[in-house]
Symmetry: C2
Subunit: 208 residues, 2 copies
């Protein structure tokens, strides 16, 4: 018999690009970053490991070996992002300035893949309850700390009404930004944020 082609076991035409070559940590970082982006664009239920692999320029198998389930992968990507949510907020010396800095940080967040990924992950239900709980926890941890500091400073300056609840002010501010940006796709310029903070400071009723 004549063989014009290589033997049947393998043709071995391509000389392999860069198989092998362990590269450790950079792989994990690229995968987790791509996971956050995928979370933002496709949500937890629509998440595709193959897309993440292409995005991170890593083979699908490498992802499955490190994180056996999708849930583990998402959990790893969400782990420890609380610190990046608002970062360090400055003490501006006034409640209005502090709240402006807060809503500015929040509006930056909801425009970023990290923020939208967190929001969408927190909104999942049923099967992925653990993921939703983790995202919720990170969101709460990232906003509760700065919020408490702002309210404490305001109270020390006498800039706080007796009955007002600090967490509720933050809920309303953050919720308004989310409503405006994510649900309504409206612009978040400084004037809009300023008006929002003023509304929260003075209320909707006329000051007799």
């Amino acid at each position: 018999m004549q063989w014009s082609a290589p033997p049947m076991t393998a043709t071995r035409r391509a000389p392999r690009r860069d198989a092998g070559r362990p590269r450790g940590a950079p792989v994990a970082e690229a995968v987790l970053a791509a996971t956050l982006r995928e979370l933002a664009s496709a949500g937890v239920e629509g998440l595709s490991v193959e897309r993440i692999a292409r995005e991170a320029e890593v083979n699908k198998t490498s992802i499955y070996r490190r994180w056996p389930t999708r849930e583990a992968l998402v959990a790893a990507a969400l782990e420890g992002v609380a610190a990046q949510i608002t970062g360090q907020l400055p003490d501006t010396g006034s409640l209005r300035g502090d709240l402006l800095a807060l809503v500015g940080a929040v509006s930056d967040l909801v425009g970023s893949p990290l923020g939208r990924g967190l929001l969408r992950a927190a909104l999942t239900e049923s099967a992925e309850a653990a993921v939703a709980a983790l995202a919720t926890d990170q969101l709460a941890r990232g906003t509760a700390g700065p919020a408490r500091a702002i309210v404490a400073r305001a109270k020390a300056r006498g800039e706080w009404a007796r009955g007002a609840r600090g967490d509720m002010v933050v809920h309303a501010l953050v919720g308004a930004v989310i409503h405006r940006a994510v649900l309504e796709h409206g612009a978040l310029d400084r004037r809009w944020l300023g008006s929002l903070v003023d509304l929260m400071l003075h209320g909707a009723l006329p000051r007799e």
Copy 2:
């Protein structure tokens, strides 16, 4: 020749349950209601036509014949739900009462499959932009109308600060409820809602 069994073309053992029998409108209603529930539990990207078919007790084929694409199915399910979002809000005679009724309706909504389905649909991106736009439009249409009416009545009674923006008050209230219920999984009792409305009415600053 003797045939102890039916001919080879088909055994025809089961006498069919209820094939045929067109039942028109009830099929569409059941499917669209199941689609909203599926939207709430799985989101747009995780939506499964087979699950909807099982849930609605309808064959998968019947769904594909009426709505050729998933997008068409979701759009049909979202069509015209704006009217059910808040329903008819009463004129309570005071701004506080009107806003309490509004946040009560919103908190009922976010606890329902319709509300969570709308929220999750509005949060989708990229590939399903048309669906997100439709959900956003329904949400806006369902809240903007009642909100304008409430603000107009308050202004007529003199219960409105000059600088306050009506849409912003609604954004903050609705956003706070969403933040509390969907992102934080907190309870929405009457006391919490009352405090929220009072905060929006009087503001966080002390009234000198």
